[in-house]
């Protein structure tokens, strides 16, 4: 599989770098909204992606990385909110599994927070910073060279044995 060449830091304009950095900082702006309703964070990240995706692959990569990494955090937090409400409404026990899940959500949130800060600083410097898993997915999606269907002439090939 082939990929587009990556731009070097001195080839990326300051405005582009700031837009890329914004993808991570937007998360802080929506944190307050996202506390009671974690899904709002994700909605904001999706909007930011669609508004900025035409500003070049560098911005697209960082917004996608921020968006993808926010999906599991949002799902985990939504699960926590739902679990807590159910426990209160149905008067269920707050079991060890619940507290363990809460600790896991807190860890995920903290890791996401730290990675986002580092990602924002690197983006501002015009550097690619890859989150575990999400960085590779975003890079693969943005920089992969897609075959152009319908433009090349049909090619005859011998049968396969």
């Amino acid at each position: 599989m082939e990929y587009h060449p990556l731009p070097q830091p001195d080839e990326i304009e300051v405005r582009v770098r700031e837009d890329a950095m914004g993808a991570y900082f937007m998360m802080f702006a929506t944190t307050a909204m996202g506390l009671p309703l974690p899904i709002l964070n994700l909605v904001a990240a999706v909007i930011y992606y669609y508004v900025n995706r035409d500003k070049g692959k560098f911005v697209q990569f960082h917004t996608l990385q921020s968006l993808y990494s926010q999906i599991p955090v949002t799902l985990l937090n939504s699960g926590l909110v739902a679990w807590t409400i159910v426990n209160f409404v149905k008067d269920f026990d707050f079991t060890g599994f619940y507290w363990g899940y809460l600790v896991m959500c807190a860890c995920a949130g903290l890791i996401y927070f730290i990675f986002s800060i580092v990602g924002a600083v690197k983006a501002r410097k015009g550097i690619f910073y890859y989150f575990v898993f999400f960085g590779k997915v975003a890079y693969h999606q943005v920089y992969r060279i897609r075959p152009k269907y319908g433009t090349s002439a049909p090619e005859n090939r011998p049968p396969s044995y």
């Binding site: 363990g100 899940y101 590779k136």
Partner: protein
């Protein structure tokens, strides 16, 4: 590339599953720690004194009954795995079939309940149930939830009177009753008392559920109905080597003194 992405995903899932698992194993405190045992005991003493001043809860002075209740209580206490409480069982003179828990390990039992029990083992099962409420700190939890820690510990005489009123009409939620039932079954077994005696006692209560004398009894004040609790109590399986040791008490003679 796809293989590398998949590997990363598996690592991430593994790490977070491990965090969840390890964090779940940690022993989280589930009992209210806002009120120390010492403070609870001091408050409990004041509540008991106030309750016994009420003519409806006048203390029964009968050595025979006191010693029988103490004997049952000692046997149960000796088999507690761990307890922060020093238990105080008080019998009050009332025809009502009733027993309730007051903070600090105080358990008040009506003479009507003693008359209602066909054997000391039945009384032991009720006492073990009430001890379950004590050990799980159900009363304190409920008082803190309803009044708040500040009001509860204010020491104001008027507040004390109100709390006393609450205690004598205690009711617990379904979960707390189930916890106390389970605790009682385990404690009875450790005390060499047939743990399913609780089911017998529940059945008797169910048969007399229209009896006005037991309308304040906390054991019957909660839902679900007795059928599920009888089923639960009967499903308790004692260890294979369990052997019940009968209480060495002349129960009929004791009841005759009431």
């Amino acid at each position: 590339m796809r293989r590398s992405i998949l590997k990363d995903l598996l690592i991430l899932l593994g790490v977070f599953a491990l965090i969840w698992l390890l964090a779940s194993l940690f022993n989280y405190p589930d009992k209210p720690k806002l009120l120390s045992i010492e403070k609870e005991e001091r408050l409990g003493e004041a509540y008991v004194d106030l309750i016994l001043l009420n003519p409806m809860f006048r203390e029964l002075e009968n050595e025979k009954i006191d010693s029988a209740v103490s004997m049952i209580g000692d046997r149960l206490e000796a088999n507690l795995e761990h307890s922060d409480y020093l238990y105080n069982f008080v019998v009050f003179d009332s025809k009502m079939i009733n027993a309730f828990t007051v903070p600090g390990g105080n358990i008040l039992i009506s003479s009507g309940l003693i008359a209602f029990c066909d054997s000391p083992e039945e009384l032991a099962s009720v006492m073990a149930h009430e001890m379950g409420h004590v050990e799980e700190r159900h009363v304190v939890s409920r008082l803190i939830k309803e009044l708040g820690i500040d009001i509860l510990t204010s020491g104001d005489q008027y507040v004390l009177g109100e709390v006393t009123g609450l205690l004598t009409s205690t009711s617990f939620d379904r979960k707390q009753e189930e916890e106390a039932d389970r605790f009682a079954a385990e404690l009875l077994e450790r005390s060499s008392i047939e743990p399913r005696t609780l089911a017998t006692f529940f059945r008797k209560l169910e048969e007399e559920s229209d009896n006005e004398l037991m309308k304040h009894f906390e054991i019957i004040s909660t839902h679900p109905n007795f059928s599920s609790r009888i089923r639960e109590a009967l499903s308790y399986e004692p260890a294979d080597d369990f052997k019940a040791l009968p209480m060495d008490l002349d129960w009929e003679g004791i009841q005759a003194g009431l």
